[in-house]
Symmetry: D2
Subunit: 377 residues, 4 copies
Amino acid sequence: MGQPIRIGLVGSGFMGRCHANAFRSVGGLFPLALQPVLELIADIDEAAATKAAGALGFRRSTGDWRRLVADPDVDLVAITTPNALHAPIALAAIAAGKKAVYCEKPLAADPAAAQRMAEAARSAGAVTMVGFNYLRNPMIRTAGDIIASGEIGSVIGFRGVYGEDYMANPATPHSFRTDPAGAGGALHDIGSHLVSLARYLLGPIEAVVGVTTTIHPARPAHAGESALRQVEVDDRAVFLARFASGLVGAMDVTWAATGRKMQLAFEIAGTRGSLAFTQERMNELRLYEAGQPAARAGFKLIESGPAHPPYGAICPAAGHQLGFNDLKIIEVAELLQALSGGAPAFPDFAEGWAVQRTLAAVLESSATGAWVTLPAG
Amino acid sequence: MGQPIRIGLVGSGFMGRCHANAFRSVGGLFPLALQPVLELIADIDEAAATKAAGALGFRRSTGDWRRLVADPDVDLVAITTPNALHAPIALAAIAAGKKAVYCEKPLAADPAAAQRMAEAARSAGAVTMVGFNYLRNPMIRTAGDIIASGEIGSVIGFRGVYGEDYMANPATPHSFRTDPAGAGGALHDIGSHLVSLARYLLGPIEAVVGVTTTIHPARPAHAGESALRQVEVDDRAVFLARFASGLVGAMDVTWAATGRKMQLAFEIAGTRGSLAFTQERMNELRLYEAGQPAARAGFKLIESGPAHPPYGAICPAAGHQLGFNDLKIIEVAELLQALSGGAPAFPDFAEGWAVQRTLAAVLESSATGAWVTLPAG
Amino acid sequence: MGQPIRIGLVGSGFMGRCHANAFRSVGGLFPLALQPVLELIADIDEAAATKAAGALGFRRSTGDWRRLVADPDVDLVAITTPNALHAPIALAAIAAGKKAVYCEKPLAADPAAAQRMAEAARSAGAVTMVGFNYLRNPMIRTAGDIIASGEIGSVIGFRGVYGEDYMANPATPHSFRTDPAGAGGALHDIGSHLVSLARYLLGPIEAVVGVTTTIHPARPAHAGESALRQVEVDDRAVFLARFASGLVGAMDVTWAATGRKMQLAFEIAGTRGSLAFTQERMNELRLYEAGQPAARAGFKLIESGPAHPPYGAICPAAGHQLGFNDLKIIEVAELLQALSGGAPAFPDFAEGWAVQRTLAAVLESSATGAWVTLPAG
Amino acid sequence: MGQPIRIGLVGSGFMGRCHANAFRSVGGLFPLALQPVLELIADIDEAAATKAAGALGFRRSTGDWRRLVADPDVDLVAITTPNALHAPIALAAIAAGKKAVYCEKPLAADPAAAQRMAEAARSAGAVTMVGFNYLRNPMIRTAGDIIASGEIGSVIGFRGVYGEDYMANPATPHSFRTDPAGAGGALHDIGSHLVSLARYLLGPIEAVVGVTTTIHPARPAHAGESALRQVEVDDRAVFLARFASGLVGAMDVTWAATGRKMQLAFEIAGTRGSLAFTQERMNELRLYEAGQPAARAGFKLIESGPAHPPYGAICPAAGHQLGFNDLKIIEVAELLQALSGGAPAFPDFAEGWAVQRTLAAVLESSATGAWVTLPAG
């Protein structure tokens, strides 16, 4: 089952568990030269770390991420903490040398930190990856292939949406999500996914104009408390983006999309066809191919299957469907393939930084009311 | 069957036929005090007018719209010509006195003309209506009621789309649609519908920022010709709109939405629920009501029926469905009800002008790159 | 606008109004050699007939259908009464001579009556039509063409459904619908549509086995009454049908499909493709074409448009959608075309009788528990 | 992570890999008293077994399943072989004593073998489970709860479908699927899933009438060969089923449903609501609740989430979606919970036998043309 690669995981929340599951499962599904070993898990609370190690199958645990990044028996550091900790942990891991660094999105709490991370990774030649897991959906990869190959001609229209509703209720209290250095608002928490997706499909964004809004200006400081504390982050961001290709697209991001659970969706029109997708039906891609006889023309509903790699590694039968956790398994598989094969990992910290700059430009545009131009790349 | 009201129709194309059908059918479906009589039809070509009169059931025909608006036996003038003719015909009809004026959208080819029309109508006390027929869909009226009543709380999110593909192909030649004084580009031709819908549901728009694009910069001068002529109008407009309520929405309008035939769609999030709609499924409205138990929560697919007036006038059974022509029949019914009942018609020329100003502001923003503020109303 | 054809309509309920609207509207939409004149309307109640004449635009009215069928100024008799009256009215109209007879479905309350009607029509050479209006949907016609042309190969699978819920509530009282000689139960009231559709698409049915069920064995005798009266008709019929081709299909018919308003649906698999349709989305047809590359394979959602005749006569733009009333307009257009052109009308009384025999066979199978073989045709 | 339970897996094909993945992943997702250890894998080919052990992470391998069932270090025997081997392996495992037996569906190649398995398990008090994994979908469990609790009243309508197209092409050669003792035709291969689902939701089936069909009477003996060999199993089964409740439902099963990949679907009408589901959108359940105001009534689209146990064990966020492999993980979790908790496992061999008898009754009915009554249970 390949050579062992020892995993150090920082964080044992939703994403920590998801990473652990991916590292645990990937070896039985993908033929890999590297076989993950769940070596060490860190959590801010020693007891929680111990418990998580038991529950998730790690050999050892620690209450101090600094010990994890310095541990010589850790080959790959996976970071699933609140955003503000991404940079210190990743920089320490890179500085420790010989460690791959796999960090959840957004890359950092601000562009400066993201830049430091990207530059440190580049200087050190570290293999890095950012957890933009929705890019791993075989349907997204297929969409990307369709665009890149010119199957739908030149892209002439784009709309992107990311709506969930986990913060729609004003009674939902403050948490790391409303901490400017935590998730940093809807734009950073989920808008980062949409921007990474837009860049993956359509290339660099060179300018944005938009508005961010704090829909609920105050929330309970803690669950069940009546005292409200002011909210300093956005609940919604709506913006136009001009891509390097000249295409202008509209994007709408909010964690207050009442009723929506996973509306990461887009529609892309090309001169010879169109694509429509929503992660709500993550195993489906709609494709219109121009030039069909009018009486038989229409959007095709393509169901995910082995014809859409790497679906077949997860399941050999079309239409049986992948789930959320499978995307993380694919992400980990590709990280491990990059590590063993010498191919560059993607999306790496440089890409994570580029996304972060785009998010910062939206905030700047909202403050100034003007279009904000981004550096090339 | 009520007192006769004599209809004078200008234009016998797609919309002219649609008007004729509506006036012909409405009396058997709606209980009306006024019963339309197809009195006179005008077309630019005398022979075409004669033929149309026969085909559509008009008593008389003329090749000169000036004779129609001056005709003492015409009580209601319906205008379905290219946009540039809306203003002269409507102004003449208003000037002739005692005539209701029913004009296709957009109200005019430019805001100045629209303003003259609105002001003339106001001065004369004329009953006017603009053919924003999609507002007549019982599902749209239901959506409006849901928003106005506060059923979904305060509106906190909006996206609107209007995509068709009738000009997606660059080989589609010039026509009145690409004539700046004709349909005036995608923004005017179909964006006017979307803006009227947004205003109907969400109130006045006070500022916009956006970009209009000419996707295909040249088209054949005429069908089958190889010689290309430059295109002077937009193929697509994408913009943000700030409503008087403070809400910011994104709108995307194009007649080059490859594969889309009738994607006049929106999603509206409120603090207590959400709505989603597309005219592609014009007899359906999706409604999410917050506060349901999590295990039973979800968007409801409401099918159009007699519980959604005035559906019942068209058909007494739910789910049997209205079609495009039925919207025009409802529009005509409401115009006739306004005429007999003394209630104001809506949307009238004042509303048509307000829409037009919004479209002009989008063009201005595209030229300057800045937000453009609209006058109140 | 063509030569007048004088319409005599019996019945002024839902279907009567629908017929009137169709005759009124058809001339402005379809180029016809015959132009309907709303000559005479009959209703069982003289006053209701008078009122209906005014509301629907008929010249004259009568309280006695016998006078209508005998009227020399009536060229076409349209029958929209409860089922038990279909036969006497139609037979009288045929006997009167020189009259076309257009009868709502099912053709009669029992096969013997249907047979008399079919044989009388044949003997007299009368032009007849049965109101299986769903066959007029351009999407159904397209489905029929696709099957007949072999586009999807040999048909190897079929399921048909007709679910509505207008009788789902046991508190809904008795009416003509629960009268064995009225609508005659769900199987006759709506199952007749499904059987006509199955025959249209797939050919004659040669044997059936099935079960009919009275879900609510008693209902209030009249609205608001607490006294219950036994129900003698079925609420649901579920059966297998063997077509002459050898294909076996399953059909499920009920007016107690809680929540369903217009679920007249089918799925048809062929060796080279498949079709799926529901009248709930009557302007859509789903088509799968085998042989596509696996990574791009999927059901296409075809939207109704001018490429699907006779959609274009109703509206020149694809995706704008037809409604329920438009189907009746098409039905009337085709009846008038048959009358003027000498082509046979379809579905005629012979077809109506064939449907009726199939329904009777389902009832017989339910009683005996055995397969029931039908006469050929 | 709990006490070890040593897994012996027979078969390393699609289902063998799927079992291995489930045993490997389950411990990190579900809090379990028993922690699976991948102890031994058997495959008919020694070399394949060795390779599979490496790829899937088993400690040991063998080319002889007899050695596996006799191995004292195997606590749980998982059987993923062709159907004909289910009985000998399971009977040997039960005879070996102290082993749980987990067998893929259908339980056996014929009812007699299934009966022997069920009776042996009962006599020995063995914990058994049959791999009807679609029952593990949280949406199915929710549907079951909704029905059992009476939320939708009494069930008055049912249709079930299972359509895939993996054998639609007549050029697809013979395999274990077309071996009467292998998968045994579409009815056994996938119809067993539909019958188990129908029984789970609606209770025992007491009689059936139906038809099985061999659509493609001959297929290539092996891939790429031109010589055809006769097919002895069904490609499609369509039948009516009478449940003990008196409800009659229609079921349609085929592996030649051109274009369908995973259409395991049903619609269930109750007196107070309805349910609709398709495994094609396995994370969605449609629910209609009667009694809503007509203007706001409609089917709700419920998205899978933590409110639908055990979704939350896989992922804490609603709408993120489970995939096919997750169903097998849940199945294994519930088997392990049954083993540690003493609760009966479900569906066990007795249930597997009941399903098998139903399938046999369909075949018998197809041969005789008559309704076939099943023994109670």
